[in-house]
Amino acid sequence: MTFLIGQKFHVADITTQSDTDDPATVTFTQTTYTLERTSVIFQVPSSGVVEIEIIGDLWATSSSDNAYLAWGISGTDTIAPTDSEALRTHGSSGIRTKISSIVSGLTPYANDQISLYMRCDSGSGANVLHTRVIVRPA
């Protein structure tokens, strides 16, 4: 978004929310998305659009399995976690990186919450460490 000098803006429009958790490894053997942790509560900007970034250190227990870390939204708005918006890695070689998603159509000024979810494909285990969530207006 572009601000001009002296321009008035809504409080919610310039707020970045973030948090960090999982100082120790957490493992999930479920093949459907399972709550990993609840994360930041944020106020939806007037545009109804936010950018969500999730960061994690991710690996599968088996060399032939996939591990997924995804976000979901609850509160006034509800969005379920999906593979298409997930951070994913194949095999037991770990990676720490991030993905970004642009989410539109949220209810302006509503208080929503982001949660992280985990799953694997074949039940060997999906492992996660050092997660972060960042939400910015977009």
Binding site: F9, V11, I14, T15, I55, G94, T97, H130, I134
Partner: protein, 141 residues
């Protein structure tokens, strides 16, 4: 950070700073974080908080070792943030990947210049950590 409705925004608060480096592979066997040569100078917004995103391609020469990219921040007073594994972008093994991570860093001195620098380390000194096509983006937050 706290803004109030109608508050006037400082010009520096809406600015983004970025820089790119490592057009050829930078490698190290150091297990301590080693400066890669990429540094971005930025002006700290009046909130004192910035979001720093680091991006790069990285890989290890060993199938059983990690390669880590991380960032450090300096001001005129010295180091205010040291590179660390739990804020890094990392990959295990010889498969290369280009990805990124972001850090929200509060408590910087408003209005002053600061530098964000990129570092690389290897998990073991018998393997080489490598990086290529890196960049740093700093935004007010």
């Amino acid at each position: 950070m706290t803004f109030y409705a109608g508050e006037r925004m400082l010009v520096t608060d809406a600015m983004t700073f970025s820089g790119s480096g490592n057009t050829t592979t930078f490698s190290t066997t150091n297990t301590a974080y080693t400066y890669t040569g990429l540094q971005v100078t930025f002006i700290v917004p009046h909130t004192g908080t910035v979001k720093i995103t680091i991006t790069g391609r990285t890989w290890s020469s060993s199938t059983t070792a990690h390669s880590y990219i991380a960032m450090g921040v300096f001001t005129a007073a010295g180091s205010v943030w040291s590179p660390q594994d739990n804020e890094s972008f990392r990959i295990y093994g010889t498969n290369t990947i280009r990805g990124s991570v972001a850090t929200i860093l509060p408590g910087l001195p408003p209005g002053q210049a600061a530098q964000a620098s990129l570092y690389l380390r290897s998990e073991v000194n018998t393997a080489t950590a490598n990086t290529l096509h890196t960049n740093i983006i700093v935004r007010a937050a």
